[in-house]
């Protein structure tokens, strides 16, 4: 009984929703569904009462950018054309921007090398490795485990503590407020 009902649902979902159709096609061919944002199942979309007035949300990426600008003047630095300045001038500013950017990254992400091995040393890429953790370059042939020279040990965030933001609608995209001296 359950399977009959499922079949009917799948029939209509495949007909009307492209992402379901793709997933079913993938399942029939025996490969994993293409990675994508999870889609809420149809039955969740039952109408509810009026949604409560929600505070405007914004992307964590913008909040991170705001933190880098606030503490390290990152946006000012990158947005400024370098053509008119000598290397010494750029270097003088870069030293401070660099130090403060690093402080932000350390505090929010604490980046660590993905592999503990020294650059240039020989490392093994295990069987069944996650391609998100290893990028193979050069002559890639044969079957893992692979052996190779570590060109870059990679980075991994030990944490992800981006600040939370709660502001007004007109400030959703603000990276840095205008400063007015009274």
């Amino acid at each position: 009984m359950r399977r009959i009902w499922l079949a009917i649902r799948v029939f209509f979902l495949v007909l009307f929703r492209r992402e379901v159709a793709e997933a079913v096609e993938a399942a029939l061919e025996g490969r994993a569904a293409p990675p994508r944002a999870p889609v809420a199942p149809a039955e969740v979309q039952t109408p509810k009462g009026p949604a409560p007035a929600k505070a405007p949300q914004r992307s964590e990426a913008l909040t991170l950018l705001a933190a880098l600008q606030r503490e390290a003047r990152f946006v000012d630095f990158v947005e400024e054309p370098l053509d008119d300045y000598t290397d010494a001038q750029v270097g003088a500013a870069a030293r401070d921007v660099h130090r403060n950017c690093r402080a932000v990254l350390q505090r929010l992400f604490a980046p660590q090398p993905l592999l503990g091995d020294a650059e240039g040393s020989e490392v093994e890429v295990p069987r069944g490795f996650d391609p998100g953790r290893y990028r193979l370059v050069g002559q890639v042939t044969g079957e893992p485990p692979f052996r190779g020279r570590l060109a870059h040990p990679g980075w991994e965030a030990a944490k992800c503590d981006v600040p939370s933001w709660s502001g007004g609608k007109s400030a959703v995209k603000v990276i840095a407020p205008a400063e007015v001296e009274l």
Partner: protein, 606 residues
């Protein structure tokens, strides 16, 4: 619900930290609580510490809940990192160093006086209220993170400077209870907490590192204050015991002085090049100097570092690179400035320079006139010299605490100076081994102390760090124009233990019924031999310091015929370390508690 955690709170002059540990565990597992706080309007970030700054926003800035916290809406002020940042650019609305005001007996600490010197439009708050706000924030963070462990049921240990006198402790207590700390929270001296943090290391290491007769100097130089304490190692029934021997005076000199001195010096270098910094640039320079301090202090002779190090002030506005100004700062000059200014190689008999007293001294905080920590240290060690010591008590070990000592050159210099005083080589006082978390040791140690109290770990015995005296005017013929001679009656001896009380013999006085009776009140960190009932006729200003007066009123409706009641004093130190002084009628057994009248200006304070 039973008590689950012990919570250690370090209420610092510039930073607050909260550590906690599960009470029921075989080994202490001390952790730090991340404290969500505003880092900008409408932006909340969790940090390990809460800067002790409070920003009183103008009404226009609070619209839309810009200062709201996850646990509090409609906020009109901000505490923490955002307030610290605002402090530099909007000083009139930012409360700083409330803790130092708390122990400043020349002002009424219940009155809204902070930010000091703010214009009338700003609704100021009192030092006590500011302290309460910091604690409320910490407790809010706790409730949000630990909804199943209500604060009222946890064991809380709050640290205070060892140099806080009884009145400042009472005010801290008042603020803490108002903020919602449980009634039975305990006050612990900060340098002791730092020692507990070191004791917390596994394996009873301290028993190997310390032996009978050793004396441990705790040198705590924080952002705004310097706190000195001496802990001795004794033996009792074959067991090593730790005993707090002495604490220093409250010294208002710390890392902020160094950053400011450095900024001032670098501003002079800019001026030499014809660049006058505007107020905004000066603030930015202060931050740059704070960040560059350690790089600047790196020894100039080491091969990898150049003789100079650049210090920059970034351009304001969007023209960041174009507006940046830079000077090359000589490392040697910085070393001279900070080393010789704050840790000079002074002699052991060299005492801190005194401020010349002018007739019109501003009331503000009594910052130290002499910034040399080494000279203050010499005065402290000299004041507590025992009979066995030559001219100063000789510490065998040093425990550093406070952010200033993150700079290794300062630690080395202090040890060098101690070596010059007490002999170098084997005999030289040496730093305690082990990892030291200079920023969070007090909070962690406070949590460990609470745990050790339950689990039976080693404890530092100490009792009161001072002896206390009540001023008694002598009876006798009045001499026109001359005040009656004042004597000091000892009511609490040095080292009086928690949970004990003492009846003060002699010193019977008459209390007038229905009128408030005032007593001048004195304390001494150095007079260790005085017993309760001892009456001092003479003392030097160095020995006894006057603090807030005490006050008691005998209600009129008592069944008393006489216009006055003869009383004697009874002092008590509660289990929680709270000082109480009572007047006991010699006729009935009635007693009345004396309260600090911090509402009045300390009379006759120097």
């Amino acid at each position: 619900m039973a008590t689950q955690y012990v919570i250690g709170i370090d209420l610092g002059t510039t930073n607050c930290v909260l550590a906690y540990a599960p009470l029921v565990s075989d080994v202490p597992e001390v952790r730090l609580l991340d404290i969500p706080q505003l880092v900008a309007a409408g932006t909340i970030e969790s940090r390990q510490s809460l800067p002790s700054f409070l920003y009183l926003a103008s009404p226009h800035e609070t619209t839309g809940g810009a200062l709201d916290l996850p646990w509090a809406t409609g906020q009109t002020f901000a505490v923490g990192e955002y307030a610290r940042r605002q402090g530099a650019e909007v000083p009139d609305r930012t409360v700083v160093a409330a803790k130092s005001w708390l122990c400043h007996s020349r002002v009424d600490r219940h009155q809204p006086i902070l930010p000091w010197g703010a214009p009338g439009e700003v609704s100021k708050i009192s030092p006590v209220t500011a302290t309460q706000r910091y604690l409320e924030h910490l407790l809010g963070a706790w409730r949000a993170a630990m909804p199943d462990a209500p604060i009222a049921q946890q064991r809380v240990v709050l640290t205070v400077p060892a140099s806080f006198d009884a009145a400042a402790r009472e005010l801290t207590r008042e603020a803490a209870l108002a903020a919602g700390l449980p009634d039975d929270f305990v006050l612990l001296e900060e340098p002791q907490a730092a020692v507990y943090a070191w004791l917390a290391a596994p394996g009873e290491r301290w028993r190997r590192d310390l032996g009978v007769g050793d004396r441990l100097l705790v040198c705590d130089v924080g952002g705004g204050t310097t706190d000195l304490t001496l802990v001795g190692v004794t033996e009792e029934a074959g067991e090593l015991q730790l005993q707090r021997i002495a604490v220093g005076n409250h010294l208002l000199v710390g890392g902020d002085n160094m950053d400011l001195a450095l900024a001032h010096f670098v501003a002079g270098l800019f001026a030499e090049q014809g660049m006058q910094l505007d107020p905004w640039q000066s603030v930015a320079l202060w931050h740059s100097c704070r960040a560059a301090k350690e790089a600047l202090l790196a020894p100039a002779d080491s091969t990898q570092s150049r003789a100079t190090h650049p210090v920059s002030v970034l351009g304001r506005g969007r023209k960041l690179i174009g507006g940046t100004v830079t000077v090359e700062v000589e490392r040697q000059a910085v070393s001279d400035l900070l080393m010789e200014g704050f840790f000079p190689r002074s002699r052991i008999d060299e005492l801190p320079a005194r401020q010349r007293v002018s007739g019109f001294r501003e009331i503000g905080l009594p910052f130290e006139a002499d910034t040399a920590v080494t000279r203050h240290l010499a005065a402290f060690l000299g004041a507590h010299a025992g009979e066995a010591d030559q001219e100063a008590v000789r510490p065998s070990h040093v425990l550093f605490n406070g952010g200033v000592f993150k700079a290794e050159p300062f630690r080395r210099r202090l040890l060098d100076v101690l070596g010059e005083w007490f002999g170098a080589g084997e005999d030289a006082p040496r730093a305690l081994a082990g990892e030291h978390d200079l920023d969070c040791a007090a909070a962690k140690g406070a949590a460990y102390y609470g745990w050790a109290k339950q689990a039976g770990g080693v404890r530092i015995r100490g009792g009161t760090a001072r002896a206390y005296y009540v001023g008694i005017e002598t009876a006798g013929l009045a001499v026109p124009g001359a005040p009656r001679p004042l004597r000091a009656l000892c009511v609490v001896p040095f080292g009086m233990e928690e949970g004990t009380e003492a009846d003060v013999p002699g010193g019977e006085i008459g209390l007038v019924v229905g009128e408030p009776a005032h007593f001048r009140f004195f304390s001494s960190p150095t007079r260790k031999e005085d017993r309760p009932g001892d009456m001092l006729a003479h003392w030097s200003p160095d020995e006894l310091a006057e603090t807030d007066p005490l006050e008691a009123t005998l209600p009129l409706d008592e069944a008393i015929d006489e216009p006055y009641v003869p009383v004697t004093f009874r002092s008590r130190i509660t289990e929680l370390g709270v000082f109480e002084l009572w007047c006991v009628s010699t006729q009935s057994n009635k007693q009345w508690k004396l309260e600090f009248s911090v509402r009045e200006e300390g009379q006759g304070a120097e």
